[in-house]
Symmetry: C2
Subunit: 336 residues, 2 copies
DNA sequence: CCAAATCATTAAAGCGGTTTAATTAAACCG
DNA sequence: CGGTTTAATTAAACCGCTTTAATGATTTGG
């Protein structure tokens, strides 16, 4: 690759001049500009992004820390989130550096990243990385609440407790008492939040919580989310009574529906299903159309991007945003 | 941020020594190593990735050029592909720089990228960028055939013509003559390839091709792929006779199924459906389970990653790989 | 017509690392 | 003990760009 020196030499100017021609930060006379440009084209010269970044301390790249388990692939939630981040960042000229390693393998614990800011998914409890970014003065926005909650850290999140509370209240109002809850993995904070929300709904209506059976997704047992839904129904429908099931995602609901068809269970006559959805379109395409809570993963991503971009402009920015979810009643639930 | 100079000064050594302590490329005595490390921790020093990249001419980052239309979001194909790329690259310590701008807005036409190699989706005819990367000596692997075909360019691709040919042959053997083909967008080369393959199947079996009706996805008309499937069936089932439909993707098939349910058409008794799938799991979860051709988008991505990594080691590497697809007969087709 | 102001250009000093060649210190050996 | 290796460390050059301060050249205006 030709460098700025080559161009400068051949064009008979200083490299400062060549730099100015490309960056247009300083006026250069027309004849000189033309000469430089033609020499550059001749040599196939392109400014080196890395050298430039080093000099101006800016890369126009946003880091996205989105751990993906070795075997598993990205979830629908992550995809939607990513989409939101991409759209928002691209709009402002930023690109995304994907970082899918789990925290403990994170290479960046040994070196800083070539990014102007970072969006980090699902921070863990007392996440070491958060203070590291703080220390390095790299603008950071979390997707998911930091734990412990810290008023100086920007984040976006759903209110998972509230969301489960709404679902619970809705089902209880419809007369459902025995609920099967196919929750997310046990080790996720979102799972805990949801259970709390559901409990709250029961307490508020003065109904004993005993009849709620909570299961957790477990990669060991269930190959896919759909499997999770399918197997759970097959397994539980003989063991315990339930007239409603709350599903982790819409893919899980797909499996639930398969099981009901095989068992001759009619939805929603015999069984009501509510999904905590992250793919509205899929929910609308099932039959019956799925009553679901839209998690707005894309909005979450876009808002994280927006806040980060603002923070990169003004590092003092702090914003903590709860994106609220909405229960959309479709065809898979009915009142008892 | 503390720099290597700060550490060197405070530890009373040269920066070359500090560099060696971190890179371990040269032995440094234990006492010195300890002193440097403790000073580094004290100052919160992390080697600067950009400066390092500039010096060693290596970033351990792979660029992924994956244009996404402004309104539309990533397709399932792209997601799967991305997944494959991520897995393969992560395995070898590379990270992904996502670049979703359409070709004509590509920023990199004005500056080189901080990447060691590039994977580029869906190259256009006579794609300017290909020679630019060549010129810059940046290893490049395409996903999708270059046009014109060039023996020096590495790429991975499906054989879309072959694939459509197989689907056509299969349907014809099952006795199907009138086929509705819900193809991809008209402007995609894959659409053309598929039609050619289908035609070939007809010709080979000496059956007139007149009874094949080809439609194309069009963002203007169809909000979602599912809409495309749904609307097309509603619209065409009165106008022309067909006992089989070939669907662009499994999401389109979802829409087709919705239409058949509404119209009281039984699948596969009254109508056979074959999908060109990029999400096997979805295909298996529908009812009836979808007969489909697995496009192996993830394999495509992983192979592209593998070839690129090899090419970054040995720039003389050239590999052109056709990932073959497989027709999996499930429940949505039957013999007439 | 000369001093002042304006404009285009340049030389050199960064940006924060790596690496080569030279230097010093320590170890070895007959 | 002097000479030779070997090991550890350093000074300085370099990676390719930006930017500041200085320098000439040109224009302006009183």
């Amino acid at each position: 690759m030709a460098t700025i020196d080559d161009v400068a030499k051949l064009a008979g100017v200083s490299k400062g001049t060549v730099s100015s021609v490309f960056s247009k930060k300083r006026p250069i006379s027309q004849p000189v500009t033309d000469r430089v440009l033609s020499v550059a084209k001749e040599l196939g010269y392109f400014p080196n992004h890395i050298a430039r970044s080093l000099a101006i301390k800016k890369t126009m790249i946003v880091g996205l820390k989105m751990p993906i388990s070795k075997e598993g692939s990205t979830t629908q939630f992550e995809i939607q989130m990513l989409n939101g981040v991409i759209k928002e960042c691209t709009k402002h000229g930023y690109r995304i550096l994907l970082d899918t390693l789990p925290e403990h393998e994170d290479l960046t614990q040994f070196s800083s990243d070539p990014v102007d800011g970072v969006i980090m998914l699902n921070p863990r409890k007392h996440d070491q990385r958060i203070e590291r970014f703080e220390q390095m003065r790299i603008p950071l926005v979390l997707v998911g609440r930091p734990d412990p909650l810290e008023s100086s850290i920007s984040y976006v999140d759903n209110d998972n407790e509230q969301l489960a509370y709404e679902v619970g209240s809705y089902l209880l109002k419809q007369g459902h008492r025995s609920i099967l809850f196919l929750n997310a993995s046990a080790n996720m904070t979102v799972s805990v939040d949801r259970v709390n929300g559901l409990k709250k709904a029961y307490e508020e209506q003065g109904i004993p919580y005993d009849n709620v059976h909570v299961m957790n997704f477990d990669r060991q047992q269930h190959a896919t989310p759909m499997d999770y839904g399918y197997m759970s129904i097959l397994q539980m429908h003989e063991q315990i009574p339930f007239a409603a099931v709350v599903s982790d995602t819409d893919r899980v609901a797909l499996g639930i529906l398969r099981a009901t068809r095989e068992l001759g269970i009619d939805v929603p006559k015999d069984l009501s299903i509510v999904a905590l959805s992250n793919d509205v379109r899929l929910a609308e395409e099932m039959s019956p159309k799925l009553t679901s809570v839209e998690l707005s993963a894309e909005t979450l991503g876009a808002e994280a991007g927006r806040i980060l971009i603002q923070k990169m402009k003004d590092p003092s920015t702090v914003e903590q945003l709860i994106v609220d979810a909405q229960l959309i009643v479709r065809e898979s639930t009915r009142s008892l």
